[in-house]
C-alpha cells in the first residue's frame, strides 16, 4: 500500500517537474532565439487540417512544409512550421491565433483558409503586429483596411466573379443557366458577384444551393432543363463537382460545368468539356515549377488548386525572414511584417510577380481559365 503511494507520488512529481521544465524551456526560446549566424524562426500555419474540409487543409499544410524545406535549403535558414488546426471554425481559429501570438518564436502566420476565420482573427493579429498571409480567403471585405497585417496571394471575389461571368456571357452564350452555391462564404460571395452580370445580359438564372455535406445531386440534376447549357459551380469540394458531372451524364443532360478554383483538381475533377477558372495556374504545366510539382507529387500524391498559393504565401514569409537575417537583424514580428510589405518577387510558383498593395491585396492577380479535354487533361485557354 505504501509502495503504491510512493510510486504514485514519484510519477506525479516527475510529471510536474517535466511540466515546469518544459514551460521554462519554451519561455527561454521565446526571448529572441535567432542569432545573425543562423537564422532561426518559426512560421505558424492555420488551416482546416482535420474536420469537414480536411483534404483542403492537409494539401495546404503539405505545400507550406514543402516551401519551408526548399527555402531552408536555398537560404540556409532554420525555419520550422508550427501547425494549428482550425477545422474551418472561426472560434478555433481564434484559439490557434492566440496560441501563435503567445509563442514568441513565431514571426508570421500562413493562413487561415476561410474568409470567416480571417474576420475572426484579424483584430488579434493586428494588435499583436503579426503578419498573416492567406492562400485562399477571397472575400472582398477583408482588404478594406480593417486588418492592417493581412495579406493574400489570391485575387478577391470581386475580380474573379465578374471576369468568369463575362466569359460565360460572351463566349459560352447560354440562354439559361443554373448556378449552385455550397452555402459557404467563398461560394456565396462569388455567386453574388456573378448573378448580376448574368441577369444584366438577359440570361435566365436558376440559383440553387446545396450544403457542402451533400454528396447526392441526382435530385438537383433532375432540375436541369434542356435549355440550360451551363451549370456554374463555384464550389470548394472538387469531388462533389465530379459527382455532379456524373449525375449530369447519367441523366443525359447536355449542360456544361463551369467551375472556379475549388474545382481545379486534376486528380479528382475530370469531366470532359468542363471549364475551370483558377486563381492559380496549373503548376505542372509551368516549366519553372517542375521541381516543386515533382517533389509534391512524389511526397504527397495528387494535388489541386489550394496548395500552390499557400506555397507562394509561405515563400513570401521565408524570403522576408531571410532578408531580415541577411540585413544582420534578429527576426521579429515587426521587421518581418515590414519586409513582407515590401515583397517584390518578379516570379513565383503562381507564374506571376508577387507584390502587395496598401490593403494587402495581390497586385495584378491573374486568372487562368482551363478546359478539360476528353482525356481529362486540363488545357489552358489563352486569354
Amino acid at each position: 500500500m505504501k509502495g503504491r503511494l510512493v510510486l504514485v507520488a514519484a510519477a506525479v512529481g516527475s510529471l510536474a517537474a517535466a511540466g515546469c521544465s518544459s514551460s521554462s524551456s519554451s519561455s527561454a526560446s521565446s526571448s529572441g532565439s535567432a542569432s545573425t549566424a543562423s537564422c532561426v524562426a518559426s512560421i505558424g500555419f492555420e488551416g482546416p487540417i482535420t474536420g469537414p474540409v480536411a483534404p483542403l487543409g492537409t494539401e495546404q499544410l503539405h505545400f507550406a512544409e514543402l516551401a519551408v524545406s526548399m527555402d531552408n535549403a536555398a537560404n540556409h535558414t532554420k525555419i520550422t512550421v508550427v501547425q494549428g488546426d482550425t477545422q474551418l471554425q472561426p472560434a478555433q481559429a481564434t484559439t490557434v491565433t492566440q496560441q501563435f501570438i503567445s509563442n514568441g518564436s513565431i514571426m508570421a502566420v500562413v493562413g487561415p483558409a476561410g474568409s470567416q476565420e480571417v474576420e475572426a482573427v484579424g483584430g488579434p493579429m493586428a494588435r499583436a503586429g503579426m503578419a498573416f498571409i492567406s492562400g485562399s480567403a477571397t472575400a472582398v471585405a477583408l482588404t478594406t483596411g480593417k486588418y492592417p497585417t493581412f495579406f493574400r496571394v489570391v485575387s478577391k471575389d470581386s475580380v474573379q466573379g465578374p471576369e468568369d461571368a463575362n466569359y460565360i456571357v460572351h463566349t459560352l452564350k447560354p440562354k439559361a443557366l443554373m448556378i449552385v452555391d455550397d452555402q459557404e462564404a467563398y461560394s456565396t460571395g462569388l455567386v453574388s458577384a456573378m448573378v448580376p452580370v448574368f441577369q444584366a445580359a438577359g440570361i435566365k438564372v436558376d440559383h440553387e444551393s446545396v450544403s457542402q455535406k451533400v454528396t447526392d445531386f441526382s435530385s438537383l440534376v433532375a432540375k436541369v432543363t434542356p435549355q440550360t447549357s451551363v451549370v456554374v459551380l463555384p464550389w470548394q469540394v472538387a469531388a462533389n463537382a465530379q459527382q455532379f458531372g456524373r449525375d449530369l451524364a447519367q441523366e443525359h443532360k447536355t449542360a456544361v460545368i463551369f467551375g472556379t478554383d475549388g474545382l481545379f483538381s486534376p486528380g479528382t475533377f475530370t469531366i470532359s468539356g468542363s471549364y475551370v477558372s483558377s486563381f492559380g495556374p496549373d503548376i505542372t504545366a509551368i516549366p519553372a515549377d517542375a521541381a516543386i510539382a515533382q517533389a509534391a507529387q512524389s511526397k504527397y500524391g495528387s494535388f489541386g488548386t489550394f496548395g500552390p498559393p499557400v506555397f507562394a504565401a509561405t515563400h513570401v514569409v521565408d524570403e522576408a525572414i531571410a532578408s531580415v537575417c541577411k540585413a544582420g537583424q534578429t527576426p521579429s514580428r515587426a521587421n518581418v511584417l515590414a519586409a513582407i510589405k515590401q515583397t517584390n518577387e518578379s516570379a513565383s510558383i503562381l507564374g506571376q510577380p508577387i507584390s502587395f498593395d496598401s490593403n494587402g491585396d495581390l497586385n495584378g492577380g491573374k486568372f487562368f481559365l482551363f478546359k478539360i479535354s476528353s482525356t481529362g487533361k486540363y488545357q489552358l485557354i489563352p486569354s
Binding site: L15, T50, E119, T188
Partner: protein
C-alpha cells in the same frame, strides 16, 4: 473489500447504510479526501474554487492560456445549463446548441451595425437580459413537443431544431443575419462607463458569471422545482400521480437551460466579436455533452468540472505536441499505476518494458542502421530520455501505420485475455505504443489531438461511467 471491524450485522439499517456509504467513495486515502471535502460544504467549496479561478491569471497565464480558459468556461457554463435539462429533468436535448447560437446572434443583432442604417448598439445591461428573456420563450416553444414525445423521440426533434438553426442562420435573410459570412464587428460587453475588451477582462467576467450561475442553480436544485425535475426524471407517471405538473415542469427545464445557454452565447459573441453559423454546429454540442457526462450528469459541480477538464485537454494541452506527449505518457503511467494491483507486478512490467525496449533498440541498430536513424520526435525531456530506448526509423510513415494497427489489435486482445497473459503482453504493448507515438503520432499533431480525445473519452467512461462527480444510479429498465 474491507469488512467492518464489528462484523456483519445483516438486517441492521445502520450497517447497511455504512456499507453503501463506504462504497460510494474511492478507496483508501482518496476516499478520506472526498469525505473531508464533503464536510466543508457546498457553498464554501464554490467560493474556494471561484477564488482559485480568479487568482489563476496572476500566476502568469499568457494570452493563449487565457483564451483556453475563456473557451473552457463558456463550455462549462453551457454544460451547467445542459445539466438542468439532461441531468436533472432527464430530457435528452440534442438541439441545445441552438439556444447558445440564439443568444449569440441575439446579442450580435442588438450590438452591431447589422440591423438598420447604423445598427442597434444597446449596452450589455439591456441587451443581455432581453436576449435571455427571448431565449426563455424559445425554450418554452422548443419544449412543447415534450408533451407528446418522450426519450429518444424527443431527442430527434430537438436535434432537428438544432440543425434547423444552423441552416436558418446560414441561408435565410442573409442581409439581416449575415448568411455564411456571419455578423462581425460586435461591440464588447459595455456597461455604464466601462467596457471589457481584453481577454483577461472576459476571463474574470466568466469566472464571476459561472460562479453566480452555479449558485443560482444550486438554489434551484433544492427548491420545489428542482425536486419536481428529479421526480419527473425518475418516473414521470409517478410524479404526475403525486400532483406534479409534469408538462409544465418539462417546459421549465427547457426554458431554464435555454436561459443559461443564451447568457453563455452573449458573452461568447462579445468576446469573439463575430458570430458565424458554423460556430453552432453539432461538433460543439458533442463537446458540451462530453464535458457534462464525463463530469457527472446531475451534479452542477460535475458538469462544470467535466467541461473544464475536457476543454483544457482538448483545446489547450493537446494543441501543443510537447504537452500532448506528456499527456500520452502520463495517462499510460496513471492507468498502469491504478490498474496493476500488486506493486511488484507493476514494477516487473515496467522493468520488462525498459529492458525490452533497450534490447529491441540494440538489435535493430545492429541489423539495420536506418531503422533507428530518426530520433524521438517529442519535445522536452521525454525525447532525450527515450533516445536510446525507442526505435524510430528514418522513413517512418508505413512502419508507423502498421504499428498503429497492430497496437489497436493488441489493445483489444488485452481486454479479452486472462490476467497472466495480460501481464506478459503488457511490455511489448507499451514499447509498441511508444514506438507508434514517436514515429507517427507526433508527426501529425492535429490528427493526434482527435485520436487522443477519442481515446480519453472511451477510457474515462470505461473507468468511471457515472462521471467524475456523479452518483451511481440504477435506471429502471424501460
Amino acid at each position: 473489500m474491507s469488512i467492518d471491524s464489528q462484523g456483519p450485522q445483516v438486517g441492521a439499517d445502520e450497517w447497511v447504510a455504512r456499507q453503501v456509504h463506504r462504497r460510494e467513495y474511492l478507496p483508501s486515502w482518496l476516499g478520506g479526501a472526498q469525505r473531508a471535502t464533503e464536510r466543508i460544504g457546498w457553498w464554501p467549496r464554490l467560493a474556494i474554487v471561484g477564488l482559485i479561478g480568479a487568482a489563476l491569471p496572476s500566476l502568469g497565464l499568457g494570452g493563449f492560456q487565457l483564451q483556453v480558459g475563456i473557451d473552457a468556461m463558456v463550455i462549462a457554463l453551457l454544460a451547467v445549463g445542459l445539466n438542468v435539462v439532461v441531468g436533472w429533468a432527464g430530457l435528452l436535448d440534442l438541439g441545445y446548441i441552438a439556444f447558445f447560437g440564439f443568444g449569440a446572434y441575439g446579442f450580435a443583432l442588438l450590438s452591431s451595425d447589422q440591423l438598420g442604417s447604423n445598427g442597434i448598439h444597446l449596452p450589455a445591461y439591456l441587451s443581455v437580459p432581453i436576449v435571455m428573456a427571448a431565449a426563455a420563450l424559445l425554450g418554452l416553444a422548443v419544449g412543447l413537443p415534450s408533451r407528446r414525445l418522450i426519450g429518444d423521440y424527443l431527442a430527434i426533434v430537438t436535434l432537428f431544431f438544432g440543425e434547423a438553426f444552423v441552416e436558418f442562420t446560414n441561408n435565410v435573410a442573409p442581409s439581416k443575419l449575415g448568411g455564411p459570412n456571419g455578423i462581425t464587428g460586435i461591440d464588447p460587453i459595455r456597461g455604464f462607463s466601462w467596457q471589457i475588451t481584453t481577454n483577461a477582462g472576459y476571463y474574470y467576467l466568466l469566472v464571476i458569471v459561472l460562479v453566480v450561475t452555479m449558485a443560482v442553480l444550486r438554489l434551484l436544485e433544492h427548491s420545489r422545482t428542482g425536486r419536481a425535475w428529479r421526480a419527473v426524471r425518475e418516473d414521470p407517471l409517478a410524479a404526475a400521480s403525486m400532483t406534479i405538473p409534469v408538462n409544465r415542469v418539462k417546459l421549465a427545464a427547457f426554458a431554464g437551460g435555454a436561459v443559461v445557454a443564451a447568457l453563455a452565447g452573449t458573452i461568447y459573441a462579445a468576446q469573439q466579436a463575430s458570430v458565424f453559423p458554423t460556430d453552432f454546429d453539432t461538433p460543439i454540442l458533442i463537446l458540451i455533452y462530453a464535458g457534462l457526462i464525463l463530469g457527472g450528469a446531475g451534479s452542477i459541480a460535475g458538469a462544470a468540472l467535466g467541461a473544464l477538464v475536457v476543454m483544457v485537454i482538448y483545446d489547450g494541452l493537446l494543441r501543443s505536441p510537447t504537452e500532448a506527449g506528456y499527456l500520452f505518457y502520463g495517462l499510460i503511467m496513471l492507468t498502469l499505476l491504478a490498474k496493476l494491483r500488486p506493486w511488484w507486478r507493476l514494477a516487473g512490467v515496467l522493468a520488462a518494458t525498459v529492458a525490452l525496449g533497450f534490447a529491441a533498440h540494440a538489435i535493430a541498430k545492429a541489423i539495420w542502421a536506418s531503422a533507428v536513424a530518426g530520433g524521438p520526435q517529442s519535445g522536452g525531456w521525454i525525447a532525450s530520455a527515450l533516445r536510446d530506448w525507442v526505435i524510430v526509423p528514418a522513413h517512418a510513415q508505413t512502419a508507423g501505420n502498421w504499428g498503429f494497427v497492430i497496437l489497436v489489435c493488441l489493445l483489444i486482445t488485452l481486454v479479452q485475455v486472462s490476467s497472466r497473459w495480460r501481464t506478459i503482453l503488457l511490455p511489448p504493448t507499451l514499447c509498441l505504443a511508444s514506438f507508434v507515438w514517436e514515429t507517427r503520432l507526433v508527426e501529425e499533431p492535429s490528427v493526434t489531438r482527435q485520436l487522443m480525445i477519442g481515446a480519453i473519452l472511451i477510457v474515462m467512461m470505461n473507468a468511471r461511467p457515472q462521471g467524475l462527480l456523479g452518483q451511481r444510479r440504477v435506471e429502471a429498465p424501460t
